[in-house]
Each structure stands twice: as structure tokens, then as C-alpha cells.
């Protein structure tokens, strides 16, 4: 579906953010990408949606190389990034510029229904709480019906309760429509709760350190012993990735 082929990214200032990354998201799965800060995981996501071009290697969407943003790939940022002058419904419609007005409005309401914000369609972003704003951003990404949804630490700015709530919500949306999701996070718990597969990254330069297939049944119970033992395995891998980086440097 979405595939990185020996991708490296060097920024204009000479910093090598990613080196030789091979990674593929399988259709319909949730792929988690975890790593310490500055390991290039956000850059990876920006490469996947065509916001930045790779220095070496290719990013493929199906059989075509990605050269820029495209409607089949949606992105949810770390912050909601809503237009403060547009209402919630107008924000959700933002990416639907080629459709007739009535169709846009109908799809926006549908997407808002999906994230439980239908009654806030006419509110302005300033009236929303952090969690509601991020739900609006998710609705904005879903409304174009992307086959791949990329999420860049989407819940990291929220409080623990809201975060857990939105994570469950995301699983619901995913089980209904089964889009491919790629989730970048530094939160092991979040990755484990959501992902079918988790990739642990090491940094400087960013590369894939380890890959795990998470066989936990859904819905996942965070307090279950299996969940906890997975958590320990992942933490160990993450520590190894970070320490390996320190000794190499």
C-alpha cells in the first residue's frame, strides 16, 4: 500500500535525519512507529505524505511514487491546526474543495457525527476544548475518505483521560472502515493499544531498530498481563535503541 524503499533524508543544513529506511504499511493495518525524540519518526511521516521529498530512495503509494500530497493519504498533526476563522463544519470541509456545496456539507456532518461533534458544527474553534479540537482535526482528515491515514503524535497534547477516550474512538473508526493507519508516537502504551505492528526506531541517523507484530486480541485491555508483558518487551527494545545510539555516538 504505502512503501518506503531505501529512503534517506538529509536536510538542507546537512543533518541526516533518516538513513536507508525500508518500511511498508499493509492494507488495513495500524502500524505504530515509536522512538525517542529526534529519531526522525515525524520526518518519516512527512515523507509518507509527500510533504517533504526523500534525498535518496523512493516512497511508493501502490504502484506510483509519491511526489507530493495526494487525497488518498490523510494526515492528522500533533496539534489540531484548525482555521480559527472557520466553523467546525467548515474546517472539516476544508479538503473537499472539488465537491458541490451540498455534498460537502453532508459529508462534513457525517464525519462530525463519526467523531461525536455533530452538535458543534457551527461552533468556532476557540469554543472547543483540546480534545474536541483534535477530534475535529480527525474528522477533517477522514472526510476525504483517505485509504491511508497518517497520525503524527495526534494525542500527545491531551490529558490522560481524553487521550484514552480518543484512542478507543480511533479504534472504533478504524474497525468500521478499515483504512490503513500509520501512527507515530512516543507513547508505548498508545502504540500497544492501537497497533497491529510496531516499529521501534533508533536515532541519529534515524533507522529501524526492531519490528514487532502485536498479537493481542481487540479490544485491548491495558491492565491485562499480556499487555503489560508486551509493554516491557517494547520498553526494553526502545531502551536498547536509545542506548545503542548513545554508544555509537
Amino acid at each position: 500500500m504505502l512503501r518506503l524503499e531505501r529512503v534517506s533524508k538529509r536536510f538542507d543544513n546537512g543533518y541526516l535525519a533518516l538513513q536507508g529506511v525500508d518500511l511498508a504499511a499493509r492494507p488495513g493495518e495500524i502500524l505504530g512507529i515509536v522512538g525517542g525524540s529526534g529519531c526522525g519518526k515525524s520526518t518519516l511521516l512527512r515523507l509518507m505524505c509527500g510533504l517533504v521529498p526523500p534525498t535518496h530512495g523512493r516512497v511508493w503509494f501502490g504502484g506510483t511514487p509519491i511526489t507530493g500530497p495526494r487525497p488518498e493519504i490523510g494526515l492528522v498533526f500533533q496539534e489540531p491546526r484548525l482555521m480559527p476563522w472557520l466553523t467546525v463544519a467548515e474546517n472539516v470541509q476544508f479538503g473537499l474543495h472539488n465537491l458541490p456545496r451540498a455534498e460537502r456539507a453532508a459529508r462534513a456532518l457525517q464525519a462530525l457525527e463519526r467523531v461525536g461533534l455533530r452538535q458543534f458544527a457551527d461552533a468556532l474553534p476557540r469554543e472547543l476544548s483540546g480534545g474536541m479540537a483534535q477530534r475535529t482535526a480527525i474528522a477533517r482528515a477522514l472526510v476525504t475518505r483517505p485509504s491511508v491515514l497518517l497520525l503524527d503524535e495526534p494525542f500527545s497534547a491531551l490529558d490522560a483521560l481524553t487521550r484514552a477516550d480518543l484512542q478507543s474512538h480511533l479504534v472504533d473508526i478504524w474497525s468500521d472502515e478499515r483504512p490503513t493507519m500509520v501512527l507515530v508516537t512516543h507513547d508505548i502504551d498508545e502504540a500497544l493499544f492501537l497497533s497491529d505492528r510496531i516499529v521501534v526506531m533508533r536515532g541519529r541517523p534515524g533507522a529501524i531498530h526492531a519490528e514487532f507484530t502485536i498479537d493481542l486480541p481487540r479490544p485491548r485491555i491495558r491492565t491485562s498481563p499480556q499487555f503489560q508483558s508486551w509493554k516491557e518487551r517494547l520498553l526494553a527494545a526502545l531502551h536498547a535503541a536509545i542506548n545503542g545510539e548513545a554508544t555509537a555516538a
Binding site: 510533504l51 500530497p69 482555521m83 476563522w85 458543534f120 468556532l124 474553534p125 476557540r126 474536541m132
Partner: protein
Amino acid sequence: MSANESIIEGVRPVAAAHQQPGPRLAALRGWLRAATGLVVPAVLAALWELAASFGWIPAKLLPPPSAVIDTIRALVASGDLWTHMLATLHRVAVGFGLGVVVATILGAVTGYASCVRRLLDPTIQGLRNIPSIAWVPLFILWFGIFETSKVLLIAVGAFFPVYLGLSSGIRDVDRKLVEVGRIYDLSAWALIRRILLPAALPAYVVGLRSGLGLAWMFVVAAEMMGASEGLGYLLVDGQMTSRPDVIIASIVMFAVLGKATDAILVRLGAGVLSWQDSFKPQG
């Protein structure tokens, strides 16, 4: 309960509306608040009137408010005030409009396209630093002493703040919002129209207000350099005929008109900027 809390619980914040006083009381309170601004001028006028009546200031050079009001009344009665006011308003409107149109186009282009900015902005900034009155002799030479040179001078005055406000406003737009536009693959024009202009609107409105202020300044300069009507002409006329009351009357008219047109801009601005989540102290 704050509006925020009610939203978290999933209830539209209608409760706030009930706490507001009735519409008539609210209107009265609004007028009283606006009238706060009149206290200082009223007190100053009263002191001035007293000082004149006690003979502390020479009424010949500084006529008291009552004399100024009489003069304004006489000007209204003869219809002269309307003629002069309309002439001045017309010049300000045309000059300001012209300046705003050009400034908006150039500001938008230089704000959006760095190559155009590198090409044009240094020149525009250079021109901006020329004292505007320095253009007067040249404009008279080029366009004569009639309307064209006056309107152009006003347009020049209004141009720079509007240009600066829009151009820097666009460049200051949050990169993160622009990135949203890129994700949805907006064309350059759509990006300008749907993200850059709305986001730069607050800075643009501030630019428009200072541009209008300068337009009023320049209309005086333009009308003092030779005009047969207009409030600026009235100023010069008052000087020629040794009528300080006429001079003060036209100064007062400038203050009233300038404040009124600015208030209109503020109103229009508040209408299009109501989405702003800004600090507005209560009371």
C-alpha cells in the same frame, strides 16, 4: 459556569445569554460606555470656556468653545460646511481607495512570493521613508494643482501602512496552517484566498486604520497647497482672514470626521474578525 465548561459537558453555551440584561438596558449601558470617552473633551472645553470668560486667555487668538460653536453653526447655516466637508471627504475616499487597492495587490504578492518581495520590497521601503510632503512640489509639477495631485498624494499616504500590514501579515501567518493547505494540495491562489488572507486579516485591518489616519493627514497637506474648497482650504482661509474660530472649527471637524471614519473601519473590522480569540478586558 464559563462557556468552556458548558461545552465540555456537551451543552451549547446558551446560559450566558440569560445573564445579559434586557436589550434596552444593554443599549443604554453601551451608550454610557461610549460616552466615557467624551468626559475629557467636555471638561477641557468647560475649563477653556471659563478661562476665556475670566479673560485669562486672549479670546481674539483663542476663541472660547461657544464662539467656535457659533462659527460652526454659521457655516452650517450658509451651507459652506457641507461643501467643504464633502470636498474633503471625496478626496479622502478616492485617495484612500486608490492607495488601498494598489497596496492590497502589492502587499499580497510580496507577502506570498519571496522572489517578488526581494525585487520590490526594498524599493517600496525606500520610498516609504521619504517624508510625504516632499512629494508635493513634484506632484504639483506633474499633475497640476487640481484634484489629481491631491488624490495621488493621499493615495501615497494611505498606501504604505496598508502595504506593510498586509505584506508582513501574510509572512507572519502560522507555518502550521499553511502546511494544512499543502496537505490538501491547494493551488497558490486557493492558498492565498483560503488561508493567507483570512489569517493576515487582523494585521490588514490595523494597516487600513493607520492608512486612513495618514489619508486624513495628507488631505490637509494637499488642501493647504492650494484649493478652493475643503476643510484644509478653510484652515488657510481662517489664517488669511485672521479668524481663529474658523481655524479651530475646521480642526474640530477634522477630529470628528477622522474619528467617525475610523469607527466605521473598526466596526467593519470587528465584523470580519469576530472569530479572534483575543484578550478583551471586561468592564
